[in-house]
């Protein structure tokens, strides 16, 4: 291999690898269409395996951090700092017995964990890891994330219903209420970066962030962070699997690897939303020389994602569980109105910025223009934030009505036969 070839490989290993495979298959005499399909399938396979391998690490990170915050040691036996602790855990979970409860709906019972994991992996299809390393930059990427989230919700409903267990069903009810509700502010928050960049493809969104969107739309970033936490269903939004109330909710009847699938799905989802957050609001792979040396872009992306993931874990450790009425009130009375207002205001401000700043002689896209635009958006966001806090405070002081006597939600039917058995 020549020095230049070596350099190209170091700069962008995956593209060079794909090129090599394409060349090899062409030499074998396959049609270009088929070669394209095979290379794409291989890429998807690599991404899936990578995500599974990543979960082994993130489970360890999470357990270790969890332990240190609670003043424990955490896993510390297998490997240095217990870093390989997940491997024996995995072997254990592989060898456990699969129990299917009596009266369970067999097909849906087995389909549910698969849906739960695959819904998370489907998101990886649009996450841009580096300038040249992403599954697909489809022009509806932001909407695609929401669509895929719906499939995850479906997996949870199926798990809850097919288990033939009332706690599982209760967990599924809570899950639907939470996920369908928090989809609304998530879509609204996603609209803001889309408005600012004029595109829905995730990689194009990253390319448009010459100023990180967290500076232009901090409130949208906040809403996205909170609502994606709720979509994952971890503390403080883990009431769909509240151990002390409904055992573990929808996954109570699952054992062995089927339970493990839900577990992997949750941990992978937590990491995936960190990746999405850093792609949408922290500039993704952007950084010095990322365009020329794609492997550097990957490094920036991993660093940013890890920082966000750190905060995701910290939130899970520190926050207590919400009640269901608090969860719904917070969504419908705070996040949704804020999101609606934010979308409208951002659209108007962006139009005014484009109109007036170019009128005042600033060149569209120049450095001064970008700085002024960011400052304008930041100031407007700050004003909205102050207003929202003031409003929520003045309304929050009102006590909710309390009922002295408990009200019966349903009255049992009066019949002459049932009195004896009660």
């Amino acid at each position: 291999m020549s020095w230049n070839g070596f350099l190209a490989f170091v700069k962008d290993p995956l593209t060079e690898f794909a090129k090599g495979i394409t060349y090899r298959l062409d030499v074998w005499g396959l049609s270009p269409e088929l070669v394209n399909v095979i290379v794409k399938l291989l890429g998807a396979f690599v991404a899936c395996m990578l995500s599974f391998a990543l979960v082994i690490l993130t489970i360890w990170v999470e357990r270790k951090l969890y332990a240190r915050v609670q003043d424990r040691l955490g896993p510390n036996r297998v490997g240095p700092w217990g870093i390989f602790q997940t491997v024996p855990d995995m072997i254990k979970i592989f060898t456990k017995e699969y129990i299917t409860p009596d009266g369970a709906d067999k097909v849906t019972y087995n389909l549910a964990p698969i849906l739960a994991v695959s819904a998370v992996m489907l998101i990886w299809a649009v996450v841009p890891f580096a300038p040249t390393f992403f599954g697909s930059d489809i022009n509806v990427g932001a909407l695609y994330i929401v669509a895929v989230g719906a499939i995850g919700t479906l997996g949870i409903i199926l798990a809850g219903w097919s288990s033939n267990n009332k706690y599982a069903l209760l967990g599924a009810f809570r899950a639907v209420a939470q996920m369908v509700s928090y989809e609304v502010p998530m879509v609204l928050a996603l609209l803001v970066p889309v408005l600012l960049s004029g595109t829905m493809g995730i990689n194009s969104l990253v390319k448009a962030q010459s100023v990180w969107f967290i500076l232009l739309a901090p409130l949208a970033a906040f809403i996205f962070f909170i609502s994606s936490q709720a979509e994952v269903g971890r503390a403080p939004f883990d009431l769909l699997e509240a151990e002390s109330e409904i055992v573990t909710g929808f996954q109570v009847e699952y054992s062995g690897l089927k339970f493990g699938m839900f577990f992997v799905g949750e941990f992978l989802h937590a990491f995936t939303i960190s990746a999405l957050f850093s792609a949408l609001f922290l500039g993704g792979w952007r950084g010095p020389w990322a365009e020329q040396v794609p492997i550097l872009g990957l490094a920036y992306f991993v660093i940013k994602t890890s920082i966000v993931y750190f905060f995701v874990i910290l939130l899970r450790i520190a926050a207590p569980r919400m009640r269901i009425d608090q969860m719904l009130n917070f969504n419908w009375k705070f996040l949704v109105p804020l999101g609606l207002l934010l979308v409208m205001v951002t659209a108007v401000v962006e139009k005014l910025v484009i109109h007036y700043y170019t009128l005042w002689g600033l060149e569209f896209g120049s450095t001064n223009y970008l700085i002024l635009r960011a400052v304008t958006h930041l100031v407007v966001n700050g004003l909205i934030c102050v207003g929202a806090l003031w409003l929520s405070q003045s309304f929050g002081k009102r006590e909710p009505p309390r009922f002295d006597a408990s009200r019966a939600v349903a009255v049992p039917p009066q019949s002459s036969e049932s009195t004896a058995t009660d």
Partner: protein
């Protein structure tokens, strides 16, 4: 036969089979799940036709909202949701020729259409993000579809207000 054609045939077969299962399966929840598979098949057909936005909107709205609400409503009802009676009622002999006639009519209409052999017009397929932009502008431009679009939104707002009105606990 191209790969696209093979995918289309497989998807069409899956969605038709799933649609058949929606009306024949015994459990209500299973019907809802087959319906989801049907809707997913339609979404994939949209995808094959290069209408990515419609495909994703189909998944978001039909699977993510409507089908999940179906399942939710079914789960709230009691009993095993299992029907053991006959699947035909006494008027099946009226429905059978009518649906056969409708099917025959549709087949005849599609058969007499000349569009199968014509090439796909290259209207806006050169820029995929441009397609989405055009769709958005058509929905809000006065000489486009602004009136039906706004009417639909008024309808949705009315439904929202109605739902709140019905659900409101007025002591």
């Amino acid at each position: 036969m191209t790969i696209e054609k093979i995918i289309f045939l497989v998807i069409a077969a899956i969605s038709l089979g799933a649609a058949l299962m929606v009306v024949t399966s015994r459990k209500l929840i299973h019907s809802a799940l087959w319906l989801i598979l049907t809707l997913f098949g339609v979404a994939v057909v949209y995808g094959i036709l290069d209408a990515g936005f419609l495909a994703v909107a189909q998944v978001v709205i039909y699977i993510g909202a409507i089908a999940i609400l179906f399942i939710f409503a079914v789960m709230l009802t009691r009993r095993a949701n299992q029907d053991t009676g006959s699947q035909n009622n006494q008027y099946w002999w009226v429905a059978a020729p009518l649906s056969a006639l409708l099917f025959g009519g549709l087949v005849w209409m599609m058969g007499s259409w000349q569009g199968y052999s014509t090439e796909l017009p290259k209207l806006a397929l050169e820029a995929k993000s441009g397609m989405l932009k055009q769709l958005g502008q058509l929905l809000v431009s006065p000489d486009g579809y602004v009136l039906p679009f706004e009417l639909a939104s008024v309808l949705l707002v009315a439904a929202l207000i109605g739902a709140i009105w019905v659900a409101w606990d007025r002591k």
